[in-house]
Amino acid sequence: MVPASYFLILSALLFTIGVAGVLIRRNLIVMLMSIELMLNAVNLAFVAFSRTFSSADGQVIVFFVMTVAAAEAAVGLAIMIAVFRNRETVNADELTLMRW
Amino acid sequence: MALELLIGAIKAVVVLVLILNVAAILLWFERKGSALMQDRIGANRANIFGIGKRLGLPNLGLINTLMADALKLFTKEDFIPDGADKFVHGLAPFLALFPVLVTFVVIPFGDVITIMGRTIELRAAELNVGALYILATIGIGVYGVALAGWSSNNRWSLLGGTRATAQMISYELAMGLAIVAVVVTYGTLDLQAICRAQGGVWFGFLPRWGILVQPVAFLMLMTAGMAESKRVPFDLPEGESELIAGYFVEYSGSKQAVFMLTDFAEVVLVSVLVTTFFFGGWQIPYLYRDGFHFPWGSIVALPNVAVAILGVVAFLLKVLLFCWLQIVIRWTMPRFRYDQLMRLGWKGLLPLGLANVAVTAVVVVLAGV
């Protein structure tokens, strides 16, 4: 049986890759994808712990995370459409109106 | 262990072969059936050395369907349009076919069969959450079509892909709700268990099939399934008169063959689901493990193997029946308009399904099942 720490480390790696994606990519959609990636990495950690302590709580949290992720994706993409309609771009570098 | 793997492999192969053959036969059904309904002759030209004629057999076009078309399609040039995303373009057809095929893994096509003291469940994968699995695979099924439409770098195909995706997403909901209703009724996600629960009779003569418990769910599953399979009257994604052929305009040769195969596989899938959920799957009325127990009391004992084989045959017959039903519909109905499609999906089936699930849940709770 695979030690839970393996799963945790895997989730750490995925999470970090997601972080890097958010930081490196300019495309808002890809940034959103990276965020989803991070969420899933966390989910993985949750399930691993849930298995370790054989309790359902971790899975419940995963369930909630999925729900929230769905809501977040819906709203986020809607915002993106609105932004694109106004600014004709989804490049994070060009969407810097809210600044000094 | 090895034996287990072997048995699993055998079951998988059996299922695959079954599906492919049924699909192929379905193609023939379609041709001849449509010809019949439209008072045509249909496929009748292909002939090998005139053997059939010599023997004076009527030309049923089987050769056309089963050999000639296949050969033609698989020997044609595989054309990739300029500016297409080659990787995705090549990947799409198999993304479309794969989910449909793997869905059949959880379908029980028969009861247990006992060979050399080893009882074998007659389904490829003994998964106890089959319903979820089905929903998952159907969900994945969207991508083949969508990516096919996108990767071809062609307006028509992109339009078709978009339509197909929207349509499938919309009707997945209805489908899922129908399945949920059934699951709530029988209290399990295990398809085999569902089939078993449909064995036996009410009032001594009425088979306990799901259709009698969940007629609404049956209608919804049928409709949504046909929409999923993107056939007339739900064939807007590929409506020849508007989008030439929709998402697979730019496909030719073997890849197009794969798409066609997917089409028929989906038809079969719908029939299989309907059969499994509402028509007892492999159940035959009055047939139990040890043989027939007719309402009027006479008992015909049968060996286990015979019962199992009977079950499989019954299953196949039911499936073919529903395939035929779909073909009839396909050649009878006109095509929907897009807004009609969406209205039906979102304003018709979705609320209906929700209401159905709610009612079912209440009834189940009250009945204390």
Partner: protein, 185 residues
Amino acid sequence: MPLWFFVFLAALSIISALGVVLQRNPVHCLLALIVTLMTIGVLFIGLGAVTVGFLQIIVYVGAIMVLFLFVIWLLNLQAMPANSGHLALKLLGAIGAAALVAELFAFFTQVPATAPPPANPPADYGSVSQLAIALFSNYLIAFEVTSILLLAAVVGAVALARRAPADTEPRIAQTETRAAKSEGW
């Protein structure tokens, strides 16, 4: 789940995750992400959380990702030059990510969960009933709140993405964008 299978899935997920970050074409990123999600779903199933695993595939792959695909199409995003300056940020981001992963390693190699989990979890572990019981007993309020959240999200998404009166807004937007571009924002 045998170790070799885990390693295979882990490698697959990591590679595809890297694909998400590194590929130019949003659609390819999306495909990579889909692969990652499915791998994670399979990992769930392998961990015994069967229901959650399938839910993962249904919800993420079957719904959310399709939404992404739609938006990509709607905005007609083709491959865009990935590196528009900000090399410093990229470098720092890489360093920060490395630091983070190092720290997380430091954690997860120390956690008591290093020992392999109990080989035989409770019979109903990961089943729908277990999840449902937890959801509707301990987490009932959270569950209801989540449903409200979803409703709000639906309404909000519709309100945001609805096309505004087509006469004024786009022109303003374009001038604004042009001004912005000319001022080098």
